[in-house]
Symmetry: C3
Subunit: 183 residues, 3 copies
C-alpha cells in the first residue's frame, strides 16, 4: 500500500514538472518537438542526475520507459492546450510546489534505500526536486527560477530533511513520507 | 563491412560537430584553448551523456582516447583557419545536418545494443544528436539552436525512429542504418 | 605523507571553489540557500563530472559526505561575511587560481589511478579544474569565465600535463604533484 502511494506521488511529480517544462516551451513559442524535449528534460531531469550520482545505472527511465512515454504525452498535450487562460497560471504554481515537495521526499527515499549517509540523502532530495527545473530554465535561456526564488530550495530542503530525520528515527514510512510532502 | 561503415559515420559526426563548436568559439573570439574546450565538448558531449545514462562507463572516449585526440586536432585546426570565407558557412550548415543524422542513428544503435526498449533507443538517438550542440550553445552563452530551429529535433527523431523501427522489424542493419541517415 | 599532502590540497581546492560560488550568489543577491546550492555545485561539480565519466560511482561525496558538509559550511559562512571589503576580491582571484591548479593535478591523478591513457588523464585534470566554475557561471546566469579568460584553461592544461608527464616518466609522486601545482 505504501509503495502504491509513493508510486502515485512519483508519477504526479513527473507529470507536473513535464507540464511546467512544456509551458516554458510555450512562452518561447517553440514547435511541438521543443515542447517534448523541454517537458521531458524537466520531468525526468532531476531523477536522472540523482540516479547517476548514486550509481543507479542505467537510470530509471531507461529501465522503465513508461516514464518517458508519460513525459512525451503530457508535453504534447500541453502543446495543443497551451493557449491556456491566465487563470490557470496560478494553478500551475501550485502544481509546481506540489512537484517540488514530492520529488524532495521520493528523491531522499531513493537515496536512503541505497544505504547512503542521511546528509547525502537530504542532498539527493534537493537535487531531485530542483535540477529538473534548473535544466528547464537553462535550456529555455532563463536564469534558474530556483535561484531567484529561494523559497523553492528552502521548501525542498525542509521536506527532504524532515523525511530523512523521521525515517532514520524509525518512524513508519507512511507517516514520514506524508509529513515530508506536506511540510 | 557494416562495422567499418558505422565507424566511419561515427568519426565523421564527431569531426563535424567539433568543427561547429570551434566555430562558435571563433564567433566569441576565444583563445585556442577555448576552441579546443568548446570543440571537444560539442564533438563528444552527446555520446558522453548517452553512455552515462545507459551505464556504459567509463564513457567511450575514456576507453578510446583517439576520439579525444580527433576533437583536439580538429578544433585547433579550425583555430588557424577560422577566418573562413562566408561561403563556407553554408557548407557548415550542411555538415551540421549530416552530423545530426549520423548521431541520431549511431546513438540509437548503441542503445539498442544494450537491450533497451525501442522507445528508449529512439530517445537516446535524439540525446546523442542534440545534446552536443545544446552544451555548445550553453557554454557559448547562446540559447540552444536546437530549441529555436525545431527542424533539428524533428530530423533527429525521424532518423532514429526509422532506424529503430526497421531494426526491430528485422531489416538488415546495413539498410536500416542507411535509411536512418538519409531520412 | 604524500596522501596527507594530496588530501589537504583537495580540501583546499573544494573550500576555495565553494567560496567563489557563494560570492557569485552574493552578487546575485540570493538567499542563504542560493549560496549553499551555488557554493556546493562549484566546490564539488568538477570532481563529480570526472568521477561519473570515469565510472567511479557513487561519486566521491556520496561515499564521503564530509565534502558535502564542508561546502555547506563554507557557503553559509560566506553568506554572513559576504559584505566583504573590495580589497579581498584580489585575494579571491588568487584563491581561484590556487583551486584551479590544485584540481588540475588531483583530477589527473584520480584518473591515472584508474589506469586510463595519459591523454585522458590530462583531459580529466582540465575537466575537474574547470567544470565546477562553468556550472557556477551557468547557474548564475553569466557566460562562463573560463571561456572568456583563456589563461584559466591554459593553466589547468599545463599543470595537468606536467603532472601526468612526470608521473608516467617515473618521477616520485611528491615531486610531480608539487611541480604540477606550482606550474
Amino acid at each position: 500500500m505504501f509503495d502504491a502511494f509513493a508510486t502515485i506521488l512519483d508519477w504526479l511529480g513527473i507529470a507536473v514538472f513535464a507540464t511546467t517544462g512544456a509551458l516554458v516551451a510555450s512562452r518561447k513559442q517553440m514547435d511541438i518537438f521543443g515542447f517534448v524535449l523541454l517537458g521531458t528534460v524537466t520531468g525526468i531531469g532531476g531523477g536522472t542526475i540523482r540516479d547517476t550520482l548514486l550509481g543507479i545505472l542505467p537510470v530509471f527511465w531507461v529501465t522503465n520507459p513508461a516514464y518517458l512515454v508519460v513525459c512525451v504525452v503530457v508535453s504534447s498535450t500541453t502543446f495543443f492546450f497551451a493557449h491556456v487562460p491566465q487563470s490557470r497560471y496560478r494553478l500551475l504554481l501550485w502544481f509546481d510546489a506540489i512537484g517540488l515537495a514530492v520529488f524532495a521526499v521520493t528523491g531522499a527515499e531513493t537515496a536512503l534505500a541505497t544505504g547512503v549517509d542521511p546528509i547525502v540523502a537530504v542532498g539527493m532530495g534537493v537535487v531531485t526536486a530542483t535540477f529538473g527545473g534548473i535544466l528547464r530554465d537553462l535550456l529555455g535561456g532563463e536564469s534558474p527560477v530556483v535561484l531567484r526564488r529561494e523559497i523553492y530550495v528552502t521548501a525542498a530542503l525542509a521536506g527532504a530533511a524532515l523525511f530523512v530525520g523521521m525515517s532514520t528515527a524509525g518512524t513508519p514510512r507512511e507517516i514520514a513520507l506524508t509529513s515530508g510532502v506536506v511540510s
